[in-house]
């Protein structure tokens, strides 16, 4: 699953006769999403309304933002289990800044509340990255450390207490609706567009894929593999920090025990369903968006049909397996 430095990489796959991949890797997820949409349009009352669209998009926005960072990490052959804990840390810091603004300056407090938590989460991401690059610790274990300790850090900072607030300026990031579109959906689309561009059009994107494809070869080709890996964990941290702000803004409260709980699993599931190989070397940011939308729409469909949450979990599991199985066949 993960490939630490210093150990021999698994032997390169022998060239085997393969079906030529004529279709785009997005085809499977697109078909799945389209059939889900069609099914709901036909059978779920009031499905084709702006209201339904907004509900589904707002519920998926934070998962997508986190999952984009996860896609980059996974593309290098790594994994980031700490994202949920980093959301909790970011969510814990923000209210402290605007509830007790430094120098009593409310505007300054707000400005810091939007930036400092995200940067702190990014720094924790760099910490993950440095464990992976400097100490050669497997990504799973390196990020497991903050998975265990991170939420504790957030709880220690807040003494485990719920922080409630009503601050319309800060709340805008989760509740604002320019032109009727939820603000976090705009943020989500911006993040997706930015990183889709980064992965397909920039040198950095090429480097990420090269590191995940064959790290030893990438290093020999002069790619700064350690710096690339450090960067992807940093980016994953930054995006988790941003998602943390959105979650607490939506709730108008910050609960270190709850913010970002199970987010790592949701994000990894979205990445896997979206067609990014968990073994690294391939990534599709748009696929991740589609993956998250598919999982969300399945949940919505089941709930709309009155299927209990417990059964919905089993169905979600089956969908993840089927989607990943189909992707595997196509490779």
């Amino acid at each position: 699953m993960t490939r630490p430095e210093g150990t021999t990489a698994p032997p390169p796959a022998l060239p085997q006769p393969r079906r030529k991949r004529a279709s785009s890797p997005l085809l499977g997820p697109l078909v799945a999403l389209a059939s889900l949409l069609l099914f709901n349009a036909l059978f779920t009352p009031n499905f084709l309304t702006a209201q339904t669209l907004n509900v589904n998009l707002t519920q998926v926005a934070t998962v997508v933002i986190v999952a984009v960072g996860m896609t980059l990490v996974i593309a290098t052959g790594g994994i980031d289990l700490s994202v949920g804990a980093l959301m909790a840390i970011s969510g814990a810091i923000a209210p402290m800044l605007f509830l007790n603004p430094p120098f009593g300056n409310a505007a300054l407090g707000l400005g810091l509340a939007f930036t400092v938590p995200v940067l702190v989460a990014g720094l924790f991401g760099l910490f993950n990255g440095s464990l992976v690059t400097r100490f050669g610790i497997q990504p799973f274990i390196a990020t497991l450390i903050l998975f265990i300790a991170g939420r504790g850090i957030a709880q220690v900072m807040t003494n485990g207490q719920l922080q409630t607030f009503s601050n319309s300026t800060f709340g805008y990031i989760g509740l604002g609706r320019p032109l009727g579109i939820p603000f976090q959906v705009i943020l989500m689309l911006a993040v997706v567009a930015l990183f889709a561009w980064v992965m397909s059009r920039t040198v950095f994107g090429r480097h990420v894929l090269a590191v995940g494809g064959n790290e030893a070869a990438a290093r020999l080709a002069g790619i700064p593999t350690n710096r690339v890996k450090l960067a992807v964990y940093g980016i994953s941290g930054l995006l988790a920090g941003l998602a943390g702000l959105i979650v607490i803004a939506i709730n108008s409260s910050s609960d270190a025990n709850q913010v970002g709980l199970n987010m790592e699993l949701d994000a990894i599931a979205a990445v896997a369903v979206g067609g990014t190989a968990l073994t690294g070397g391939r990534a599709t940011i748009l696929g991740t968006l589609l993956g998250a939308l598919i999982i969300q729409l399945i949940r919505y469909t089941l709930l709309a049909r009155g299927v209990p949450d417990a059964v919905a979990l089993v169905v979600k599991a089956a969908i993840i397996l089927v989607a990943v199985y189909i992707q595997r066949q196509r490779r």
């Binding site: 150990t7 497991l144 417990a310 397996l321 990943v324």
Partner: protein
Amino acid sequence: MLFGSLRYEGFLSTYNVFSVLGYNSMFGLVALGMAFVIMTGGIDLSVGSVAAFASVIAALLSPFGLWPALLGAVAAATLLGLINGVVVAYLKILPFVATLAMLLAARGLALLFAGNQSVSVSSESGFTTFGQGNIGGVPYTAILLFVAFVVGAVVLRFTRFGRHVLAVGGNEEAARLMGLPVERTLVWVYVLSGALAGLAGVILASQFGAGQPTEGLGWELTAIAAVVVGGTLLTGGSGSVGSTLVGVLLLGIIFNILNFENGRGTISLSAYWQSVIRGAFLLLVVVLQNRLTRRRAGGGG
């Protein structure tokens, strides 16, 4: 070596040692199964929800007596492990994804069977003595844990299956070319992991006096941490059962020390600090481990 530094006054009393063992028996059993899975180069994320599922089944079956409850719950959990194994070995889905799906599915099944609430264990069944009773101060669960680890160690060292596990984890392709039953070995380690998680679930139900569909969150990561602290590499092909037990006990003892210090009023740490310290401890161990394994340059554990 690390053990030596962990001596604290009054803490090696029999009572304390056995209470640590009794309390950690659930994690120990789960970690034992996890160790086998990790030695094949896989991972089992589903153990926590499988244990929760088993605890519900055990509670539902408890009116029929101890043995039907125990065996029924373990059998149900084993079945889920079998599904994991088949999906990994024959559908060739990455263990991470396959068992992630089972993490969700087993939780759903547990909630479904339990009707979204905890299920009380029937009181006259004698079922609760299993998790709470002891012989001369030694909890049954501690005995069970030791028996399981001795059996596990023997299986790994002295049976063909044990050698297959290490061979598959070392190099799956080579193992296949040598004619080893790779798929069957993979199925068996997930079956084993499921069964042991089921046993942990039975202990859970017995200690709580109820089936707990929402318990077991994060167990998989605690178990993985214990296996890693014990020195088994996540890439597979190496590892030992005894060192996994050491890993489980080290993590358990760290908590115990913190509780001791708290009790004496020398320090006062909230539960929140404990998870920070546990994370820091894991960090310390893996960094030290990496230094050591690098020096040994690839020597197997």
